[in-house]
Amino acid sequence: MPRPELQAPPDIFYNEAEARKYTTSSRIIEIQARISQRALELLALPNDGVPRLLLDIGCGSGLSGETLSENGHHWIGYDISPSMLDVAMEREVDGDLLLADMGQGLGLRPGVVDGAISISAVQWLCYADKSSHEPRMRLKAFFGSLYRCLARGARAVLQLYAENMDQSEMIMTYAMRAGFAGGIVVDWPHSSKARKAYLVLTCGPPSAQTSLPKGKGEDGEMCSEDEESDDENQTVGIYERNRPRKKLKINKNGKGRGWVFKKKEQMRKKGYNVPPDTKYTARKRKAHF
C-alpha cells in the first residue's frame, strides 16, 4: 500500500468511510493516544496545574485532542477533512474545531497560544495536491503563522511521518526560517516499528529551555513488547517508514551514480529542467590544466 499522502488529497482520503474506520480502530486509538501523551510531555508546560490554551493541528476526529482534554487543557483543533471533523463532533470532543487548511496559515492573533501539538499530520504539507499548491510556500505560511500565534517561550511539538530525509530537512528548514529553535527527538530509533520522530520547536530566543530532551530508547534500551507489537501493520498514516539514517549516508568516494540519478529524478519531478541521464552522467571529470 502506498502512503496515504500519495493516494489522494487529505480531504478526499479521509472521507466518511475512512474517518469512521480510522476512529473505530482500537489499535489506532491507542497509538494516537500514546503519541499525543508523549507530545504533551515534550511541550513541557509549566507544572502548575493551570489549564492552558493549546492547538491541535490536523486534529482529525479528535483522538489526539482527547489527550489534551484529559489533562485539563483547552484546545482549538484544525483539520481540512470535513468527514474527520464530523466524527469529532459526533464524539463530542471538548475542543473547538475549525475546518481549515494549515498550509494557508492558522489565522490567529499574535502571541495568544500556550502551545501546539500536531500528530501524524504535517507531512501532508510536502505534497502538492492542487496545481496551485507549492509545498514550500505552504510550509512557510504554516510555520510563519504558528510562530506568530505562540506566546514567547511556548513550544510546538509536531510528530510526523516524513517520507524521506529530503522531506524532513525541508520541513525543518522552514521551521527554522520562521524563527523557531529546536530539533528532532526520535523515540525508539532502533525499532523500525515503534520509531517516532517529534519536531520540538521553541518560540523566541534560545535559552536553557530550548535544549532538547533525549528520545526514548536512544541508548539502545528496547521498548516494551506492547509498544513494539501493536504498531504492526499500522495504517495511521505511514506505510513506509524513514529508513535509518545510515543507509542514506554517502560513501567516502563521493556520492555515486545512484545518488546522482535519484537526485536528478527528484529535480525533474519538481519541474526543473534537468539534462537526460547518459553514460556520462556522474562520471569523474578528467583533470584539466
Binding site: P51, D96, L99, D101, Q104, L108, R109, G111, S132
Partner: protein, 122 residues
C-alpha cells in the same frame, strides 16, 4: 465554537491588515455547563481582547459582561462567573464570522467555522 476561539481568530484573507475581530453573526447557539477554573481565567485574561468578547457575547444574547475590564476585577467571584460563562459555556452552532475589512463571510455549520480560503484569497 466557543467565544474563547472567536476571540483568538483573525481573518487571514490576502491583503487584509486588520482581520480582528471577526463579526459574529449567530443564528443558533447552545449552552453547556463546564466547571469554572479560576486559574485558567486569570491566565487567559491578559490574552483576551475584552471589547471583542463583550461584543460577541451580546451577539449570542448575553449582555452581562461589563464594557471594559481590568485585572483587578479578577478578584470578584461574580465577575469570574460571567467571564467564565461567556468564554467557555456558549457554543455557536450556526451562523457566520465576517471579516471586518473585506466583508468575507466564513460560515459556521454544525458548530464548525469554515475558514478555508479560496485560491485568490491566499
Amino acid at each position: 465554537m466557543r467565544l474563547l476561539t472567536h476571540n483568538m481568530l483573525a481573518s487571514n484573507v490576502k491583503g487584509v491588515t486588520n482581520g480582528f475581530p471577526l463579526r459574529l453573526e449567530a443564528e443558533k447557539w447552545a449552552e453547556k455547563e463546564v466547571e469554572l477554573n479560576a486559574d485558567f481565567l486569570r491566565h487567559m485574561f491578559s490574552k483576551i481582547e475584552w471589547k471583542a468578547l463583550a461584543g460577541a457575547a451580546r451577539a449570542v444574547g448575553y449582555g452581562e459582561l461589563p464594557d471594559e475590564a481590568d485585572a483587578s476585577m479578577l478578584d470578584s467571584e461574580d465577575f469570574l462567573r460571567r467571564f467564565h460563562h461567556a468564554l467557555l459555556e456558549i457554543h455557536v452552532e450556526e451562523g457566520a464570522l465576517v471579516c471586518p475589512e473585506s466583508g468575507r463571510r466564513f460560515p459556521i455549520n454544525k458548530g464548525i467555522p469554515n475558514m478555508l480560503l479560496h485560491e485568490d484569497e491566499i
